[in-house]
């Protein structure tokens, strides 16, 4: 079976690269969340975002 991935949407995958590999965005202490300095909860947030993003793109790819 030939599959046709909707590769245009793959450009969205640039977001996690920009969001997590550009330290000036997140290298700060404030605002804290539940005791976690910004840098830490921001990066944890991205773990969820990349999972959701992959899930969405998978959905687009297969429908």
């Amino acid at each position: 079976m030939q599959i046709h991935s909707k590769t245009r949407w793959y450009w969205l995958f640039l977001l996690p690269f920009i969001g997590t590999l550009w330290p000036p965005i997140f290298a700060s202490y404030r605002p804290t969340l539940a005791g976690f300095p910004f840098m830490y909860w921001y990066l944890i947030l991205w773990i969820f975002l990349v999972a959701i993003l992959s899930g969405i793109i998978y959905f687009i790819d297969t429908h």
Binding site: A27, G35, I44, I47, V50, S54, G55, Y58
Partner: protein, 511 residues
């Protein structure tokens, strides 16, 4: 000697041994075929692949080394978080293509693909040797995870007794890897990760409760880190190092032979893509494991052997029997990736060295038998590495290994999309990358993978692997233009465009 911890540890170890041998009967297949022994017949679904890749990419060494780095350096150690975030988009886009073309053309290794795509056994040999060289120290370092927990439990004898538990563990590992192939780490990975998740969840709730909460832990760490020349928030002079190390490590991770083997063991390209969405759960676990480094600071753990940071923290803050449970998780967490790495190295040796250069002469195809024996030799070799050679060298080699693996990106990853690059240009580019990367690491006495490059008056500190891959790509592009201009033969492409997009029908029975 912590007996209750040791008994729990021993029970878990026996359990994983039984599972390892039982795995040979799981999803019954003909173990005399390399695709069955070395890739488990490419039949693992989403669930098993999740455990297999998770167990593969997040190793015992990670669990020991990342908190150790965070304990010593603070924020810089958290490069592991962006690293294990950006790895998933790369996996989602690239690995299904590799899976599909490998399925169509019966490739077992990445070097098989390179050979078919570029019609160059020499380029395939370069890829295979890079993979084997990078994998050996990685297996050896898994042993340090086991060593660390054994030492923490007070199991440290003298002379041969010192290494005896390690030798027993690895002989058993070699035996069930021989009999069960990739099925063994796949099945034991399920047990391993259940143990790891229980450990992480308990540790990250119970320990902060004792230490006064996460806010307090961060406060104590912020105050203590400057004395170690670290910091709680990444300092601007480390921005480029942090980002390049994360990016380079992410690209390298997927091209390690064990990651390729784990991916090719899946039953479809879609299975890998589903996993790209589900695997970040491991990154979340890794983040909290990294935070154990700060918890150790807050708990007042003082040790010069940073490998002991996590084991000592567990013994100090958790009930002894539960520390044993956690140690079992770490030790099994070493065995799973060690087995996959040994199988991956054996596949490379068998397919791209033995079959290519030796089997043609004997005229016999005994791939699976050769792979099984090589797998054992690799495990015993890694054991020898760690028992005889000082640990520091294994760490140096591991650092180099990441830089080296990254140099196979043009041949493998770019090769999945285009055949524009000339095979000889790829080979020479690889060679330049290897020399530049190794030279930079040597200039830093192998103590760090970071290299400060001078541009006029400014200095950029970055991962040596990134500098090396830039040199690699520039050389590859320039030489491709030259070779194509001179009309040097570029061989025959052994793959078709549709090979990269052909997916087995979901639900169809595996061959």
């Amino acid at each position: 000697m912590y007996w209750s911890a040791f008994i729990v540890f021993l029970i878990l170890f026996v359990l994983v041994t039984i599972l390892g041998f039982y795995a040979a009967r799981w999803h019954h297949g003909d173990m005399d075929l390399i695709e069955e022994w070395g890739l488990a017949g490419r039949r693992f679904g989403t669930f098993v692949t999740w455990f297999l890749l998770g167990g593969d990419l997040y190793t015992a060494y990670t669990f020991i080394a990342v908190p150790a780095l965070v304990y010593g350096a603070g924020a810089f150690g958290f490069f592991a978080v962006p690293y294990t975030i950006v790895v998933f988009p790369i996996m989602y886009i690239v690995m299904p293509r590799l899976w599909r073309v490998s399925k169509q053309r019966n490739y077992v290794t990445a070097a098989d693909f390179v050979r078919g795509r570029f019609d160059s056994s020499l380029l395939a040999l370069a890829v295979a040797l890079t993979g084997i060289l990078a994998t050996m120290p990685y297996i050896a370092l898994q042993l340090t995870g086991i060593q660390a927990v054994l030492t923490a439990m007070g199991l440290s004898g003298h002379g041969i007794m010192k290494d005896l538990p390690l030798i027993i563990a690895f002989v058993i590992l070699a035996a069930y890897t021989y009999t069960s192939g990739l099925r063994a780490p796949a099945l034991t990975a399920i047990l391993k990760d259940l143990l790891i998740y229980v450990t992480v969840i308990v540790a990250c709730i119970a320990i902060p409760m004792q230490l006064g909460g996460y806010g307090h832990i961060f406060h104590v760490a912020a105050a203590a880190l400057p004395a170690k020349k670290g910091s709680l928030i990444l300092s601007p002079k480390l921005f480029s190092a942090f980002a390049t190390l994360a990016l380079g490590s992410a690209f390298a991770l997927l091209l390690y032979p064990h990651a390729v083997t784990g991916s090719l063991g899946a039953k479809s390209g879609r299975t890998i893509q589903r996993n790209a969405a589900l695997l970040p759960l491991y990154s979340l676990a890794l983040t909290f494991i990294a935070l154990l480094g700060y918890m150790a600071i807050a708990a007042g753990i003082h040790t010069t052997d940073t490998n002991l940071v996590v084991p000592l923290l567990f013994l100090k803050t958790l009930p002894t029997w539960f520390a044993g449970f956690a140690f079992g998780a770490i030790a099994i967490g070493a065995l799973v990736p060690a087995a996959i790495m040994a199988i991956a190295a054996a596949n490379l040796f068998t397919r791209n060295i033995y079959r290519e250069y030796f089997a043609a002469k004997t005229g016999r195809n005994r791939e699976a038998q050769v792979a099984k024996i090589v797998g054992m030799i690799v495990i015993i070799g890694a054991l020898f590495f760690i028992v005889v050679i000082p640990l520091q060298y294994a760490i140096y080699f591991q650092t180099l290994g990441g830089i080296w693996i990254l140099q196979t990106v043009p041949a493998i990853m770019f090769g999945l999309y285009t055949r524009w690059f000339h095979r000889w240009a790829l080979l020479l580019g690889w060679l330049v990358g290897m020399v530049v990367g190794t030279g930079m690491a040597a200039a830093e006495s192998f103590k760090t993978s970071l290299y400060p490059l001078h541009f006029g008056h400014s200095v950029i500190l970055a991962y040596a692997g990134i500098w090396a891959i830039i040199a690699n790509i520039v050389v590859t592009v320039v030489l491709t233009l030259i070779f194509n201009g001179m009309r040097v033969s570029n061989g025959q492409d052994g793959t078709l465009a549709e090979d990269y997009t052909t997916e087995p029908v979901e639900g169809a029975a595996a061959r």
